[in-house]
């Protein structure tokens, strides 16, 4: 079943008139994990931010369609998008710590979800986080970067969205936690008929977690392919370089 469809997405930077995303189109099916890999500065974060109107319209010109549950997200106003981002599409940003209001205690974010404490504590325990009793009293600046990333994912899961979008989920956490992320996200797309879209540089993680992988280069996105096919395809020289460096690093 189709979860979202992205059509002819074009994003230009307003100031320098450079094209950041050039005619990007893809479909997301339910129960699948999609991964976008690519070099730095190729538009990965721009792409995921553009899907729900998170790019500042003063600096970016955006065209195209993002069809989600029968609506074109790009035609909605800020208020409607806020509701979608609260309930349906949850983000876990790379810089999770700064995606929290530093003056609010973490309690604020969990209370807003209106979920039973037992469910909250179960999710927190899964990610090796302190119990709600302890965690609720902390501010985002009082936890480490990796903890903020885990809290952010816990919050996303507790909201029971239909799509979770993650930006570099493994960047701030150790391998054991990344391993937990992998297991939990796989479980999430299985149980709730949901989907996951993530961008990462971590090809090992991408290889293990994804149902489909695509490469982004200079604002162009390749077709989504199953991991084995993706890593075998030598069409793109840049992806080749990427994969070579990866092999060199892991040797």
């Amino acid at each position: 079943m189709l979860a979202a469809s992205i059509e002819k997405l074009i994003v230009n930077s307003g100031n320098s008139q450079t094209t950041l995303l050039n005619d990007v189109g893809f479909k997301l099916d339910k129960n699948q994990i999609y991964t976008i890999v690519g070099k730095n500065g190729t538009g990965k974060t721009t792409l995921i931010k553009s899907l729900t109107g998170l790019l500042d319209k003063r600096f970016y010109a955006i065209s195209g369609k993002v069809i989600f549950e029968g609506k074109d997200l790009l035609s909605l106003d800020d208020q409607e998008l806020k509701i979608i981002r609260r309930q349906k599409i949850k983000y876990v940003f790379q810089d999770a710590q700064n995606s929290f209001d530093q003056l609010k205690k973490l309690k604020y974010y969990f209370k807003n979800l209106n979920k039973p404490l037992s469910e909250v504590d179960e999710t927190l325990a899964y990610f090796l986080l302190p119990k709600s009793l302890e965690l609720y009293n902390l501010h985002a600046y009082e936890v480490s970067g990796g903890m903020a990333q885990r809290i952010s994912l816990a919050l996303a899961l507790l909201a029971h969205p239909s799509l979770i979008i993650l930006d570099e989920p493994t960047s701030g956490v150790d391998s054991a936690i990344a391993n937990l992320f992998l297991l939990k996200l796989k479980e999430f797309v299985k149980d709730d008929s949901c989907s996951v879209l993530l961008v990462t540089q971590d090809l090992r993680f991408a290889n293990l977690i994804s149902d489909k992988i695509a490469l982004i280069t200079n604002g162009k996105l390749t077709k989504f392919l199953p991991p084995d096919e993706f890593f075998k395809s030598q069409e793109n020289i840049l992806s080749d370089n990427l994969i070579n460096s990866y092999h060199q690093l892991t040797a």
């Binding site: 480490s144 701030g172 391998s175 937990l180 297991l183 990427l242």
Partner: protein, 266 residues
């Protein structure tokens, strides 16, 4: 004495308010001791939340240790300078660079603070070249650079003040494998060229293995293992280090992870 850093029984704690309104001490760094020789590259690996960044901040004298002592044996000519001999390249470079300021401008500022107005142009060029920031980017503003470019620019600003110790906090986290390899070589060459002592905090054990001579593994605010990189990764002693290495391929099942965690509790 060739030790640039000596840390003895250092602890750092914060006051935490409980829900009842009373407060208690929470140990972030627990009895840390280590020494670091000049021009060495030390890696710090460890659990997220184990105090790695806090340790970096204590070493850079941004935070004061609660107890214990820390001495930094800087060279004599540093004592009169206005800048900190220990500089940190923070994880979120996007937050450090002023997005509306030109690269030229803030590198100039740093070079002038260190060297004065004389010949700063040539010094600036040398520094920006050494971090491989192409000249066509120098007149860009912070927000017009990609994450990796911002990181290079931030590194250039740090090198401008010629620190004695450079702390890299998760320098590889936002990078693709190509840039990781480039930065790895860049850090190695900066270590040689500028004779800087380096400390690299990273979750990426493979990169630490390649960059560092010595490594410290932290767990719950303590140093649980330290020594030569090769020894530690080939013959880990502490259960947490073993766990980290086993989880490196992300192929553990939930049960296996729980088992490892049980072992850590013992």
């Amino acid at each position: 004495m060739n030790n640039i850093i000596e840390v003895n029984n250092l602890s750092y704690s914060v006051r935490v308010k409980n829900s009842t309104g009373s407060s208690s001490e929470k140990l972030i760094l627990d009895n840390i001791s280590f020494t670091l020789q000049r021009e060495m590259v030390l890696g710090i690996a460890g659990e997220s939340g184990s105090g790695k960044t806090t340790l970096a901040k204590v070493l850079a004298q941004i935070l004061r240790p609660t107890i214990g002592n820390y001495s930094l044996n800087i060279s004599a000519d540093w004592r009169n300078r206005k800048t900190n001999p220990v500089q940190i390249l923070f994880q979120n470079t996007g937050e450090i660079l002023n997005p509306l300021r030109e690269i030229n401008d803030f590198i100039d500022e740093a070079v002038k603070i260190r060297f004065g107005d004389e010949e700063y142009e040539s010094k600036k060029k040398k520094i920006l070249d050494s971090v491989n920031l192409p000249q066509n980017l120098w007149n860009r503003k912070g927000f017009e650079l990609s994450g990796g470019e911002q990181q290079r620019a931030a590194l250039a600003r740090i090198l401008s003040v010629q620190p004695e110790v450079l702390i890299l906090d998760e320098p590889f986290s936002a990078q693709d494998p190509i840039s990781q390899l480039n930065f790895l070589n860049l850090f190695k060459s900066i270590n040689k060229e500028y004779k800087i002592t380096m400390i690299c905090i990273s979750h990426n054990l493979k990169l630490l293995r390649s960059l560092c001579e010595e490594v410290i593994v932290m767990y719950k605010g303590k140093i649980v293992e330290k020594g030569e990189v090769k020894n530690i990764f080939e013959n880990p002693q502490h259960p947490y280090t073993k766990f980290l290495l086993r989880a490196e391929d992300y192929s553990l099942s939930y049960e296996e992870i729980q088992n490892e965690l049980e072992l850590l509790k013992e």
